[in-house]
């Protein structure tokens, strides 16, 4: 959990959202007693990872068409992955805020939710790029193996 928390909080170097949302995403429960609530950091990380991998698979292995083998097409898929991740990361805490499903001692704003969405989006972009650089399983693609960079 702390691993994902550190990633999203950029090891304390960058702050896209408030500490109150950090506590909530770590699982600070609604009675403000301990971290027995939902560990959203971990869940959102895995959801984002899965979505990114899915988008990667769709581009490289499911569609795998010469008509979308150019770099700009890859970029479109990157944007799709980023947008999906942003939506996931934004909507989950936003939903809790709307339903007052968080420790009332904390103050979580919509700006915090947007900030967390942006943080998740950035990591998705990085992750998508990294897995696109790796030779495998990209080389298993028939038509897109050289997208976005020639192998």
């Amino acid at each position: 959990m702390e691993f994902f928390a550190s990633l999203y909080e950029w090891w304390g170097l960058l702050s896209f959202y408030s500490p109150a949302l950090s506590e909530h995403l770590r699982g600070w429960d609604i009675t403000c007693s301990d971290f027995s609530g939902t560990p959203w950091y971990t869940y959102i990380a895995f959801i984002s990872f899965t979505l990114t991998a899915l988008v990667y698979a769709v581009f490289y292995h499911i569609i795998d068409s010469p008509r979308i083998a150019k770099r700009q097409h890859w970029f479109i898929f990157l944007v799709i992955a980023v947008l999906l991740s942003f939506l996931v990361a934004f909507s989950i805490p936003y939903n809790d805020v709307q339903n007052d499903n968080y420790c009332p001692q904390n103050t979580i704003s919509i700006a915090d939710c947007i900030g967390f969405g942006i943080s998740n989006a950035i990591w998705t972009a990085i992750f998508f790029t990294i897995i696109s650089i790796l030779p495998y399983p990209r080389l298993l693609s028939t038509n897109c193996r050289h997208t976005p960079w020639k192998q």
Binding site: P19, E23, W28, C32, S33, P104, N106, T107
Partner: protein, 578 residues
């Protein structure tokens, strides 16, 4: 061979390979020569066993048994006066053995065992009184190492250990004492909150002023008794008058009896129902009441609690003596019973003769305080308080003080709040801390760090106002404390707590912060105490006071302090890491 209550083995080894015992050098300067290594070994082993602090005859048996096993020696260890071997030597051996026995006579463990056996042989059972004799003996020997296992801490008896010891002892001594006939405090339904309420109204002469006509005193008492009688926990109610004795009793009172009792609260009835109404020996009365209190009986005592020192008595000495007497009585009761006391101060119209410290009657027509005591087990008193009957008393009460040992409340429940702070910090485990990454903020010229904790003081049975006094809190670090009650029960994060403590420091550092809540007498006790009531007629400041009250309450408080050995109600510990 038995002499009195002490059984002892005398001498030993009379024949083994023709070795003989001669004399014994222990205390009498006679000498013993033991020939042969085997006998020497036996002798020293036995002496070591006898002189050890844990010596008992079981140890002796064990040592000899070992010797038997190892060497397969049949060793006769009984003294025979009629032995055919040299009578002179036996005579000396008797002396030696007697001295050895004398050493062991002082063994307290054996005394305890003998006491227990004596009690058991009485009626083939151990009654509550006999059990108390045994525990009294153990308590007196609490400094003795061999009795350490009978205490769970420095002053609390471990009844399980005592019972186990008794069971094992009776088995060894082949006494047929069944579990049912062995009185066991833990088998009593101590967890039960149901009780028989025993009401005692003091009917000394000074109480007449409270019952002339219809007064707030009567209304409040009637209301309270009615509420208690109709509660689920009250099995029955006994109504009594009390002064130097109990001159009137009505057992198992019904609602009509309570009504009749209240209606008959008049000076004429007080007088007619008799007893020695001339003095108020509150200490004696409390002693009588404490004897009534047990797991099934709660006492409700109503009195003006005015001490009567009497003519030609030094008031101060008298009050001090009364205080000590109260302390001793309560301390004695606390040894074997988880006693709790609620003391309520109320006020009522008073029209009658007030008796000052010299027992001089002074006509008075004003409002005067009186006191209601509830004395019972912790469970019973807790339930009575939580039922809200005290808050429903007509006219209400002015002050309340609760005395209890609070064995289970040494660490009150608390929660560190994430809001209401200055600076920042993280909680990495739970709301009990530790506080990590603590950072102060600049305020003026200093750096301030502050945080708030929600604390649950409800288990202490005290008025919430007691905990609002910041003087009852101390810390081991440089933190100031301010307190507020929690009134908003809609906030689910703090609805189970009673107070908010805000801790502030200008010297933030890594440390374990300890907040202690002190157990002190509330200020109203001192404020309600009169030291000289002789001028009460003209001094309106005395009308709301009670002569000697402080001494009475301090006596009780000292008894509890002696039991708990601490002035601290509870402690909260929080690790702070910056």
């Amino acid at each position: 061979m038995q002499i009195g209550a002490t059984k002892f083995y005398i001498v030993f080894v009379h024949y083994f390979n023709n070795q003989k015992i001669f004399h014994c050098r222990v205390i009498t300067n006679t000498t013993i020569k033991i020939k042969g290594y085997i006998n020497k070994a036996i002798f020293f082993l036995l002496m070591g066993g006898v002189l050890s602090p844990n010596f008992n005859y079981h140890t002796l048996d064990f040592i000899l048994l070992c010797i038997f096993e190892i060497r397969n020696i049949i060793l006769k260890i009984e003294f025979t006066l009629l032995s055919t071997v040299c009578m002179k030597k036996n005579w000396l051996c008797l002396v030696a053995g007697s001295l050895l026995a004398l050493l062991s006579c002082s063994n307290k463990r054996e005394e305890l065992n003998n006491l227990a056996v004596e009690c058991a042989k009485n009626n083939n059972d151990i009654t509550e009184t006999e059990y108390k004799r045994i525990t009294d003996f153990i308590y007196r020997e609490k400094g003795n190492k061999t009795f350490k296992k009978f205490f769970s801490d420095s002053s609390t008896l471990n009844h399980n250990e005592i019972i186990n010891h008794l069971v094992s002892l009776f088995k060894q001594r082949k006494l047929q004492i069944s579990d049912e006939s062995l009185w066991n405090p833990s088998s009593q339904d101590l967890s039960s909150s149901k009780f028989i309420m025993n009401v005692f109204v003091e009917n000394s002469a000074s109480m007449d002023g409270y019952v002339k006509g219809i007064t707030d005193f009567e209304t409040a008492l009637y209301n309270l008794l009615g509420d208690i009688k109709t509660s689920d926990d009250c099995l029955a109610m006994n109504l009594n008058y009390i002064n130097k004795r109990i001159p009137y009793s009505k057992k198992d009172a019904l609602q009509d009896d309570i009504k009749d009792f209240i209606e008959k609260l008049e000076p004429t009835v007080f007088r007619s129902r008799g007893g020695d109404r001339s003095v108020s020996d509150i200490g004696d009365i409390l002693d009588t009441l404490l004897k009534v209190v047990d797991t099934s009986n709660v006492v409700l005592f109503v009195s003006d609690c005015v001490f009567s020192a009497g003519k030609n008595k030094d008031g101060q000495d008298y009050l001090n003596n009364q205080s000590v007497s109260v302390k001793i009585d309560f301390a004695e009761k606390l040894k074997n019973f988880d006693l709790s006391v609620v003391l309520l101060k109320l006020k009522s119209s008073y029209n009658g003769s007030y008796y000052d410290k010299f027992n001089t009657p002074i006509p008075l027509n004003t409002y005067r305080p009186y006191y209601i005591w509830l004395i019972g087990s912790y469970k019973q008193i807790t339930n009575l308080i939580e039922s809200g009957v005290l808050e429903k008393i007509k006219g209400g009460f002015l002050n309340k003080q609760v005395f209890a040992t609070y064995n289970d409340c040494k660490k009150p429940e608390f929660k560190i709040l994430m809001n209401r702070k200055k600076g920042s910090f993280r909680l990495s485990n739970n709301a009990q801390g530790p506080i990590k990454n603590a950072k102060a903020i600049h305020e003026g010229n200093s750096k301030v760090f502050s945080f708030t904790i929600a604390v649950d003081f409800s288990k202490y049975l005290r008025d919430e106002s007691y905990f609002l006094d910041s003087n009852i809190y101390t810390t081991n670090a440089n933190y100031t404390i301010s307190v507020k009650p929690i009134n908003d029960k809609t906030d689910i994060s703090i609805k189970d707590y009673t107070h908010l403590l805000t801790l502030t420091t200008t010297t933030l550092r890594n440390e374990e912060l300890k907040i202690s809540v002190l157990d002190i007498l509330p200020s109203w006790v001192e404020q309600s105490t009169s030291n000289d009531d002789t001028n009460i007629k003209n001094d309106s400041g005395e009308w709301g006071k009670t002569f000697g009250l402080k001494y009475l309450v301090e006596g009780m408080n000292d008894a509890y302090l002696q039991k708990t050995n601490t002035k601290i109600l509870g402690t909260i510990s929080i690790d702070i890491i910056n």
